[in-house]
């Protein structure tokens, strides 16, 4: 068996036309010009390039010289089976169609099911010391950037803290050292949020708005305790890390798919995770309200107070349908409805 091609000398950009002869795993390459022997070797000592559509498989000899057949479909004996299979799959209509169907399904499965499961698992084995470390730094950073000393009167603060202590004693598990921080923050407006170790921050604006409705205030605080109990903070971190890894590791070089299907998708995904978490925390609050003998409508009241704030903001910036879809919380209407449903069920 023989094939014509090009012989490239070792470590130099010099090449000549040549013919390769193969006899039982032994290869000899002759110059086409004067039939002189250029190189001979056992095929086992020669490295073959990968098999890929439309390209010749070249042989790299131990001294680094190279023979490339002119015939792109020519195949040497002993080509790596993996390379042949990969190339065959890439050119086979059936495997291409299969891939076309399976890829979107698998990507969806990974992102929607795989990542949250892994995130929950990671979070459940996270040591408490790490979590505490996490929070003290986050709180410091927040205090520095966005929070100021509360401007409420000490009587108001005492009222809220007393309510909080009562709640925390009844509801909070011992796992987390719960504390309530009341702070003034123009950035956050009427808001409350929780850090994973049980530090809960309530802004002056929200505190003041709900101080006359202790049940509604309780609902808000219970919602935040729900976030802590369900470990939503660390989960969020684990989830975005998981999504980033899927993007960069599994789909790393296949820029097309990661940029288009997932690039913008990951923002939507984060928002979807976040909405699920808000629902979980809402459910937690609703259940605890009932346990404590308060009305579930307290939650709806709190939502109405929050909604008042949102509508003020809405006048300035018209929210498009897309922006609402992107929003990290379920819609206020949906949450009020859910809270009222829970109340009527009772």
């Amino acid at each position: 068996m023989f094939t014509n091609g090009q012989f490239q000398f070792p470590r130099a950009a010099q090449s000549i036309a040549a013919r390769a002869h193969i006899e039982t795993d032994h290869i000899s390459v002759y110059s086409l010009e004067d039939d002189s022997l250029l190189i001979e070797a056992e095929l086992s000592s020669v490295e073959q390039s990968i098999v890929i559509a439309g390209q010749a498989v070249s042989l790299q000899f131990e001294d680094n010289s190279l023979f490339t057949p002119s015939d792109t479909s020519f195949r040497w004996p002993h080509t790596s089976r993996g390379s042949i299979i990969a190339s065959a799959l890439e050119q086979n209509a059936l495997s291409i169609i299969l891939a076309l169907v399976a890829v979107p399904l698998l990507v969806w499965l990974f992102i929607a099911k795989g990542i949250p499961v892994v995130a929950k698992l990671t979070v459940s084995i996270l040591p408490d010391s790490v979590r505490e470390q996490m929070d003290s730094q986050t709180l410091d950073a927040l205090e520095f950037a966005f929070l100021q000393e509360s401007e409420l009167t000490s009587a108001e603060i005492d009222t809220i803290q007393a309510l909080w202590l009562g709640l925390e004693k009844k509801v909070g598990s011992d796992t987390y050292p719960y504390t309530l921080h009341i702070r003034s923050s123009p950035t956050f407006g009427a808001n409350a949020f929780a850090l994973p170790n049980g530090s809960i921050i309530l802004t002056d604006t929200l505190g003041k708005r709900l101080i006359e409705q202790p049940d509604a205030l309780s609902a808000v605080l219970l919602h935040e305790i729900g976030h802590v109990e369900h470990q939503h903070g660390p989960q969020m971190v684990a989830q975005s890390l998981g999504a980033a890894l899927v993007l960069s590791f599994i789909l790393g070089d296949l820029e097309g798919i990661s940029e288009l299907i997932l690039g913008s998708g990951s923002t939507l995904l984060d928002a979807a995770f976040s909405r699920d978490m808000e629902r979980e925390a809402d459910t937690f609050a609703a259940e605890k309200l009932l346990e404590l003998g308060m009305s579930s409508t307290a939650f709806a009241d709190a939502m109405v107070a929050l909604a008042a704030e949102e509508q003020d903001g809405a006048k300035e910036s018209t929210l498009s349908a897309v922006a609402q879809y992107l929003s990290s919380h379920p819609t206020i209407e949906e949450r009020i409805q859910a809270a009222q449903d829970a109340a009527t069920k009772q």
Binding site: Q55, V130, G252, D253
Partner: protein, 353 residues
């Protein structure tokens, strides 16, 4: 065909060096199969196969790019890439956890990453060029870490301090650093770009961006008003306008920079590079590629990538002296893929012009 070779070496400078055009022989349907099958295999092997996928994809594009009857080769081994990628991923996980859980320590890590990114860039350029060969001779990158630090950290800071006035100069210096340190075997690349041309390019790009923005705005606003209530068509029209705007912005800038850069580049004792990318053609390529890729939900990506490779090959020439046979390969050391993979995962990659 025979070429009249000069009788003695003194004549070499007088004989014109033959000029050849690059050619890309890949096609969209072949690459589509490679692309989709490699994605599937990468997913079901939880990412392990992505290293093989990278080698196969690069070899497909390198092997189908040729000039003067010789094609390029991509020589990285999947195992090298896999190891580099695993180390990079572990560091990335550590980095993400650090920045997410301990913002103060994390910000130190972010600063550290900024400081070592010039190192990653050099390692990545070295790896990519060493893994590229033409006529059995490998390319390499000769830029030092110190010089990389100067170009990717100090100069950009200067650009910021001058409120962007020095930015075109900085970009010119960065492009010169990247391309002027390329070696082909024992031959150096020389880049003679001019800062004043970069200022001109930025000016032209800026003016076209303003004109296009005004034109799109003038066309879009009445059209949207006539539609009445904002709906999906509004979003679609805005998306299309954004795609057109960015495509023209990128198209004008990259076509002009590429032409200037290539036309100012020569290879020691071998010849010169030429690029004649049409600005309008390049803008149209970006617009049509993006629109078709979006409309097909990404499925046309292989078609778009092949189309771009063909377009750029057709717009590129090189004069190659017969002396190329005297080029000696200097490749020795083993090289690690870590820098390349880390640069990719941490997003500090730079592309060769």
């Amino acid at each position: 065909m025979t070429t009249d070779l000069p009788n003695n070496s003194t004549d070499v400078n007088h004989s014109p060096t033959p000029v050849y055009r690059f050619e890309f022989t890949g096609n969209a349907s072949e690459y589509f199969g490679i692309w989709i099958v490699n994605i599937l295999l990468s997913i079901i092997t939880l990412g392990i196969y992505s290293a093989w996928a990278k080698v196969r994809t690069n070899q497909y594009f390198y092997g189908h790019t040729s000039i003067n009857g010789h094609s390029f080769r991509y020589l990285a081994k999947p195992m090298q890439i896999l190891i580099g990628r695993i180390i990079a991923v572990i560091l990335f996980i550590a980095y993400t956890i650090l920045t997410a859980t301990m913002p103060l320590v994390g910000s130190v890590a972010t600063l550290a990453l900024m400081l070592i990114s010039p190192l990653l860039i050099v390692m990545s350029l070295r790896f990519n060029l060493r893994m590229t060969s033409y006529r059995n001779v490998r390319f390499s990158f000769d830029g030092s870490f110190g010089s990389s630090f100067l170009h990717f950290v100090i100069y950009p800071l200067l650009a910021i301090l001058t409120l962007g006035l020095a930015a075109p100069l900085v970009v010119q210096q960065i492009d010169k650093f990247i391309n002027g340190n390329v070696r082909y075997g024992d031959r150096e690349f020389y880049v003679e770009t001019k800062a004043v041309v970069y200022y001109w390019i930025v000016f032209v790009t800026g003016v076209s961006a303003i004109i296009i923005f005004a034109a799109l705005f003038a066309g879009l606003v009445p059209a949207l008003e006539s539609l009445g209530e904002p709906g999906p068509i509004t979003s679609l029209a805005i998306l299309l306008a954004t795609v057109i705007y960015y495509s023209i912005f990128i198209g004008v800038y990259s076509a002009m920079v590429r032409n200037h850069l290539y036309n100012s580049t020569s290879v020691e004792g071998l010849g010169e590079l030429y690029s004649d990318v049409s600005i309008i053609g390049y803008c149209w390529l970006f617009i049509s590629n993006s629109v078709v890729t979006i409309v097909t939900l990404g499925l046309a990506y292989p078609w778009a990538k092949v189309r771009k490779a063909k377009f750029l090959a057709r717009a590129t020439e090189a004069s190659i002296s017969p002396d190329i046979e005297k080029v000696i390969d200097t490749y020795e050391a083993k090289t690690s893929a870590f820098g390349e993979e880390a640069a990719g995962i941490f997003d500090v990659d730079v592309a060769l012009g």
